[in-house]
Structure formats: C-alpha cells, structure tokens
C-alpha cells in the first residue's frame, strides 16, 4: 500500500510525487490520461517572478524559482539513460538532456513600458518586489533605459519608454518537466517509491468514518495513507467526490507557435508593463498581453490570452489576431513569420486567484494541490515541497494559511 496516492500527472502532481518520495514516502501517481495530458501539456513554461505583486504568491514563486534551479542542476529530471544526442532537444539533433532533461533555461525576462506613466509604475513594482519576502528571497531586477533596451533585445520596436530586466525569470518545457520529475524521482528514490499509472480514472474515495483512506478508480480501489488532489482544472470535481468544496474553474488561454526561425530573434521573455497599472481583474471578458519568447527548438511562442469561456475549444479569430498584433508591435520583424499552430488550454483558477495547498480539515487524509491558474508550472516545485512537509508532519517553510482549502466556506450558499 502506498503512503500517498497523487491524483493527476500534471506538473503539480509530478512535483508533489517527487518531493513526497524524496521525503521517504511511497507514492503512486494516477491519471485518467497520459502524463502531462491536462493543462500542463497545453500551456507555456514561463517561470516568472517578475509578474507578481509582493504577497503569498510571490513567496511561493521565489521559493519555486530556487527549487527549479536545483532540479535542473541536480539532474534529477535526467533519468539514468541518455538518449542519442544531436542539435535539438527531444529530437535526434537535441542535446536531449540539456537543462535537466526538460529544457530549463534561465534566460531572464524583459518587461517593457510603452509610456512614461507605465514606466513609472513598472519601476515602482520592481522596487516593491526587491524589498524581499517572508521566505527570505527577493526579486532581483535592473531598470533599463530606453536607449539600452536593444542591448537586451536587438529586434525590439522603437519608441518604448524603458523597461526592467528580471534575471530570475526562467523557462522549462512543462510536459517534459512533469514526465522527467516522475521518472527521475523513481530512478533516484527507488522504483517502488514512485510509480505512475496512466489510464486510471478516480471515481470516488474510500473512507473510514470521516477520514479518507484511499481512492476508488475504474481499475479498482487503491488504499493509501493519504491522497493528494492534483487534478488541476478538474480539482473541484475531484474534491466533490470526497464531498468537499474547492472552487476551481477553467480560464481559457490560446498560444501561437511560429515556424522555427533559423536565427534566434528573441533572447528573453518579453512582455509589456501595461498590466502593472491595473489591479487584478475579475472580468470574464477577453484579456491579452502577449509574452513573446524564442524556444531552443526554434519556434517563437506567443502567449497567451485569458478568458472565461468554459471548456469551449472553438477558435475566436479575434483572440489570435490580438495576440499576433501585440507580438508584432513588440517585434515588427515577426510580421512576416508564419504561425503554424495555435493551441488552447484551461487554467485552473480560484476566485481569489491563489492556489489551494494543504490538508482539507473537512476530509482528513485528503490534501489539495490545485488551482494554480496561469502559474502552475512556475509554482509546482514549491507546492510539492511544502505539501511533502505537510504530509510528513513537518513545519512548512512557508505559511500555508493563505492557501488553505476551506477558505471559501463563507462564500458557499
């Protein structure tokens, strides 16, 4: 019997499983689909500290940023076997195991301001972020004058009011990261300590009184000491199977992918500071603000829109158009590049835009790790690390109170 069953083989479930196995627990991960078949396989891999106001999420992001670097450097994502190498990740030509086996790149982010007013707000945010957080870390940044922007990004449009460079911003290939964390954990901590079963759907929970003692699946019951709900956008549904309430809803996002470029055009993650001037919105309408970046394999990624549209996959051309327009405004040379693919995913969000992390007092034995919205890739290692501490009864490095699962009780009718 495993100590822990993790529901969901996305990036969050993978990180939870990895850190729980590292803490000495036997872990079984189950997913109804393949590894990374949910939102993890439908997003981008930005690991950002630049975009967060000081607060609990920034604390998580800073801790996670450190852990991502550790994971990439330790090679735990690498797996024991080395695949044939070449010039491209994943394929024959790839330095297939560069960046921890999941294309980790500490490339840094450049946030640019279009107006003097936006620049002022951006510099203000950078100063607040630099003041440090409860977890000890701080956001590093450098203010960049308008005439120095092209030192960072030679192809950037003219007429910008300046920017801030964030060296800690990084990226991974999310699907590879999830798969390799699970594999790397199994290889390092023992194949019996970390197992993955795909094609297994959780249909309910086994209980002993109020306590959760395992999961029911379409392939039979799996008893366990504890269960982790890492079902992402479907975390609310899984919670409901245990008779408890966690409000996780989908927020749609589209991403554009260009043809591979022969020469890298874009070095960092680049986006505009327009967002800094406004507060978090609860709008259901369309919001876009393109993050433009190159990838090791050559294509440029342009993401992403945000919109509440349920699980609707039909393509609104205006959304793709808006993303394209913003990317071209930042990098005029992109206008002649072709988009070969667009895809969409559904971010898991909670009403207060914070994830749910920790044991559910309404269903002891059930832990949640879901609702990371548009930052689940970035926040996954910290989530897994903190959850493993909670599972083993240790004091958590960060206070989990802002993320507690029952914080929405008052809002329930």
């Amino acid at each position: 019997m495993p100590d822990v069953v993790v529901i969901g083989a996305g990036i969050v479930g993978a990180a939870c499983a990895y850190y729980a196995a590292r803490a000495g627990l036997d872990v079984a991960v189950v997913d109804r689909g393949p590894v990374a078949g949910g939102t993890t396989g439908a997003g981008e891999g930005n690991i950002l500290v630049s975009d967060k106001e000081p607060g609990p999420e920034l604390g998580l992001a800073l801790l996670s940023n450190r852990l991502w670097r550790e994971l990439a450097a330790s090679g735990d994502g690498e797996g024991a076997r080395r695949a044939p190498g070449g010039a491209r990740p994943g394929g024959l030509r790839g330095p297939a195991r560069a960046g921890g086996g999941f294309e980790f790149e500490a490339k840094g982010g450049l946030v640019v301001a279009e107006t003097a007013q936006a620049m002022e707000a951006l510099a203000g945010l950078a100063a607040r972020q630099g003041a440090g957080s409860a977890s000890g870390g701080a956001v590093e940044s450098t203010v960049v004058a308008p005439d120095r922007l092209r030192d960072y990004e030679p192809h950037l449009a003219g007429g910008l009011a300046g920017g801030v460079f964030y060296p800690q911003d990084a990226q991974v290939q999310p699907a590879l990261a999830a798969a390799r964390l699970i594999r790397g954990g199994a290889e390092r901590f023992g194949r019996s300590a970390l197992t993955l079963r795909t094609g297994v759907t959780v249909t309910g929970f086994t209980r002993d009184g109020g306590r959760v003692t395992g999961v029911r699946t379409d392939r039979g019951d799996i008893p366990a000491g504890a269960v982790v709900n890492a079902a992402g956008t479907w975390g609310g549904e899984v919670a409901a199977l245990a008779g408890t309430h966690v409000p996780v809803l989908p927020r749609r996002g589209f991403i554009l992918v260009t043809e591979p470029l022969e020469k890298p055009l874009i070095r960092h993650k680049v986006y505009t500071a327009a967002y800094v001037t406004a507060v978090a919105s609860d709008s259901a309408g369309l919001e876009t603000s393109a993050v433009v970046e190159g990838t090791p394999a050559g294509p440029v990624l342009i993401g992403a829109s945000r919109e509440r549209a349920g699980f609707d996959r039909t393509v609104p051309p205006a959304v793709l158009g808006r993303l394209a327009a913003q990317a071209v405004a930042l990098f005029p040379a992109l206008a002649r590049r072709r988009v070969i693919r667009a895809y969409c995913g559904f971010r898991p969000y909670c009403p207060d835009h914070l994830p749910v992390i920790g044991e559910d007092p309404r269903a002891p034995g059930l832990y949640h790790a879901c609702g990371h919205e548009g930052a689940g890739i970035g926040l996954a290692p910290a989530t897994g690390h903190l959850l493993a501490q909670a599972l083993t009864g240790l004091r958590t490095d960060l206070d989990l109170t802002p993320f507690r699962p029952d914080r929405f009780e008052g809002e329930r009718r």
Binding site: A9, P34, V35, R93, G303, G321, V328, R337
Partner: protein
C-alpha cells in the same frame, strides 16, 4: 452583416466542383475556394497550362471522366466565383445567424488575406497520402503514391526510371499503370494485403472490380508483376535511392523472407487520411472509419443522407466523409449542393436515383477499405534510429522513450518527443505516431482526430489584421493594456 454568398465551397476536386455547380444551377450564389492554382483536386490535377500530353488517356484511365470534369468547371466558372490559389487557414460559424466566415491567404511571396462570408459551407477538402515509415523512407527517390501521381501529371519526367510500387489498396494499380504508360520501367507492384483481398469481398464481385481488372490487364500488358503479401521494408542508398528490400509478409505484415531489388524510384501508399481540420475547427461530429478487423482507420466527418454534418448549415462531401474515389466524391458533391439549395428554400426536385447511387458507391468504398486494412506488423519494419517524424527528425527510439515516460496517445508523444510538432504538423507522421503511441489498440481501432486550430500556416502580420482593434494587418497598434497581468 449580410453574407456575400449563399454557399462557400472549400475544395475544387470532383466533390467540391460538383457541389458548387449543382448549387449554382439551383439558383444559389456560390463561391469555390481552392489552394491549388487550378481546379481538379487529387484526381483531376491538371497539367500545367499549355502542356499537351502525347497520350492523354495514359494519364487518366477514364478520359471521359476528365472531359466531364472539364465541362463542369466551365459551367461553374460561368455561374459562380472561383478563387483558385487561395489557401483557407480557418473557418468559423456565427452561432446567432449561422453565417460562415472562411479566411484565406492568396499568393505566395506577397501573401494577401481574403475573407469570404456565406450562409452555408461545403467542406470538400479531400484527403492526403498515408505513408508508413520504414528505414530509408526519407531518401531522395522515395515518393508517396500521390506524389508519384503528381509527378506523372505534372512534369512527366518518369520515362526510363526504374520504379517499385508498394503499399496497399486499389489506388496502387492506377499509379503503377500510369507510370508504366508514361514510359517508366515498373519493376513490380507489391500489395501488402493478400493479392485477392479485393476479389474475395462479396460486394466487390460486381461493379468496380471490373475497373480493377482493367488495371490488372493494363499492368499485364506492360509486364508488371503484381504480388500480394509483400512490402518494401527498407530503402537503401547513399545520397539517393539505389535499391530496396522487399519482404514477404505474414498475415499481420510481419516480415518473413527478404530480397533486394535495384531501383531509382519507390512509390509507396498505405491509404489516405481525410483532410478534416476545418470540420474539426467547426465542431463537426466525426466517426471512425474502420479498416476492418484489426485494421486501423482514420476519423472522417459524419454526415446524413443529404451530406449534412452535425453543425447546422455545414456540409461535407468527397474524401472528407470517407475515402471512396472520384466517382463517389462527385455524387456526394451533387447531393450536398442539392441539400444546401433545398435548405435555403430553393425548389429541388427529388432525385432518388442519385441517392441510391451514392449509397451503392459508398458501400462499395467501405468494402474496399475493409479489404485493405493497415496491419500492425509494419511497426516491426522500423529500427531504433528510423525517423518517424521527418520534420523534427524524431527517431523511433525517442517515441519509445516518450511512451516509457508515460505518454499514451499521439498528443503526449508529441509533447515529449516533438514527433508531429514541425512544419507539417503531423500530417505526414500523425497516423504512424498514433499507432506507435498505442492509440489504435483499444476497441474501435480508430485514433482520434488531432486538433489543428490553423489549417495552413499564416503570417503573424496577416493574423494581426484580425484583431478587433487593429486597422490593418502588419501595422498593428501597440499592445492593448491588459488589466490583469501578463499572460502566463
């Protein structure tokens, strides 16, 4: 906004042309859009303007068919707008009034976007070749059957070539016959299914088997050996093809005894994959197109007897509803055109004979497909280093590694190995990858359709023109403020 047209037709092969012509004869305002420079589609693909084949009959086994198609094109040009050289990259439908918007790109170097709106839409985008990977399939000189046919109908520099034809299905025969008639030395046709698969099927005893026999006769005339239960399992050569390994196969297509044959051209074809990206974008219901017991088929658009899809106002005809040849495609196109006209209130007298004909041809096509299923033994032709995805150079070993990491469908294999992520977006390797991912192993045996939001590559500048706040493509305004933070 009132739509410009009553009916937009995408695809100028036999299905699209027949549909457009029928609808315009019934009084609809019709526009037909095709990516190719001229009408014709896969089968009636035309020679470059001004070209005169010495023996036109050698190119089309049924010259009467070509004449008829040419007349239809002339009739269509007189009654409807025909936009050749227009690639459709997306199609959408307004939920409120059903208006369909078709977005195209015209021109090569200087691309111009063009948008067409209509009340109804007919999707007649045909199918593309289904190649199976094998060691050496990326060598110059190795073609798909469709590619060989294009060569034939295009520049005709095949005379004197030493050609091997391999694969499965009845379309190998016209390809081989065409090559032989054009002067190529066709060394053999290697049919992976049993040689008599066709004749054994009860439905095939009549009807089109006659045509197949005709090919048989023509092959015999050119002394082309036709062998069953054989396949080319490897192509060899340094810089180009020099010889191939031909294997006898067991029932499941596992190789038995092998021999090599010297040649400079290899044409292989294991069937067709219906081009249904636009139908998937619009949300049309699909159905599995099974290849018979143990065979793996591709998804096709589900239609009713009037070629209506599950999405109101959207019709599909030809290979998009199941691969069945040019004659069936034309019948389906006519039915679709009639339905569109009737659904828009035009008086369309019933034509039960046409429906019966379509049903008969469709049943025949289904029987043919069932006689030539792709069997899983082809996977044993591959080696670890055999490229599965050619755009991204992903070898079999990387696909296996992805499976070992927990990938169990084509999408997750793609995410972990990059197979299918390149320029062709899996149109070439998608079928093989989904089989290698184990997708076709389950009950049903038909892998799900991939979702392609963009049917044709489109420049960012042109896409930008679609932004609601953008005056024009290419010269987009500065990024509009997002009140919530960057997309992440």
């Amino acid at each position: 906004m009132t739509p410009e047209y009553d009916l937009a037709v995408i695809g100028g092969g036999p299905a699209g042309v027949a549909g457009a012509l029928t609808a315009s004869l019934a009084g609809l305002a019709v526009v037909l859009v095709d990516a190719a420079p001229r009408l014709g589609g896969q089968y009636f693909r035309r020679l470059p303007a001004g070209f005169r084949a010495a023996r036109p009959g050698a190119l089309h086994h049924a010259p009467g068919g070509l004449d008829r198609f040419t007349r239809q094109c002339e009739g269509l040009a007189a009654r409807a707008d025909v936009l050749t050289g227009h690639r459709v990259w997306t199609a959408g439908r307004e939920e409120a009034d059903g208006t369909v918007t078709v977005r195209c790109l015209e021109g090569d170097r200087e691309e111009r976007p063009r948008t067409v709106t209509a009340r109804r839409l007919l999707i007649a985008t045909g199918a593309y070749d289904l190649p199976l990977p094998f060691p050496g399939w990326d060598l110059p000189g190795v073609l798909t059957a469709g590619g060989a046919q294009a060569l034939l109908k295009g520049d005709l520099v095949v005379a004197g070539r030493r050609v091997v034809v391999a694969g499965t299905g009845p379309f190998l025969l016209p390809v081989a016959a065409g090559l032989a008639a054009a002067g190529a030395h066709v060394l053999g046709v290697h049919e992976a299914a049993g040689r008599f698969g066709l004749a054994r099927h009860p439905l095939l005893a009549a009807g089109k088997a006659g045509e197949a026999l005709g090919y048989g006769l023509r092959l015999a005339r050119h002394r082309v050996p036709y062998r069953g239960r054989q396949a080319v399992i490897e192509a060899h050569g340094e810089h180009g093809l020099t010889h191939v390994t031909i294997a006898d196969l067991d029932h499941d297509w596992r190789p038995l005894a092998t021999r090599t044959v010297a040649c400079d051209t290899l044409a292989t074809g294991y069937g067709f994959v219906p081009r249904i990206d636009l139908a998937v974008q619009l949300g049309c219901a699909l159905r599995g197109d099974h290849g018979g017991q143990g065979g793996h088929g591709s998804p096709v658009v589900a239609v009713d007897a009037g070629m209506r899809t599950s999405v109101p106002g959207v019709y599909a005809a030809g290979e998009t509803t199941g691969v069945g040849g040019a004659v069936l495609a034309e019948a389906e196109g006519r039915l679709a055109g009639r339905s569109a006209a009737a659904d828009l209130g035009r008086r369309v007298p019933p034509d039960p004979a046409l429906s019966r004909r379509r049903d008969r041809l469709a049943a025949f096509a289904r029987a043919l497909r069932e006689s030539y299923p792709v069997r899983p033994g082809w996977q044993e032709w591959l080696r670890d280093e055999t490229p599965v995805c050619r755009c991204e150079e992903v070898p079999l070993a990387a696909v296996r590694e992805a499976r070992a990491l927990g990938a169990s469908d084509a999408r997750s294999v793609k995410l972990l190995s990059r197979a299918g992520m390149g320029w062709c977006q899996g149109r070439m390797c998608g079928y093989a990858v989904s089989c290698l991912a184990g997708e076709a192993d389950g009950p049903g045996g038909s892998p799900p359709a991939p979702r392609r939001t963009i049917a044709q590559p489109v420049r960012l500048g042109d896409l930008a023109g679609l932004a609601p706040d953008s005056p024009a493509g290419g010269s987009a305004p500065p990024a509009s403020p997002s009140p919530e933070g960057p997309p992440r």
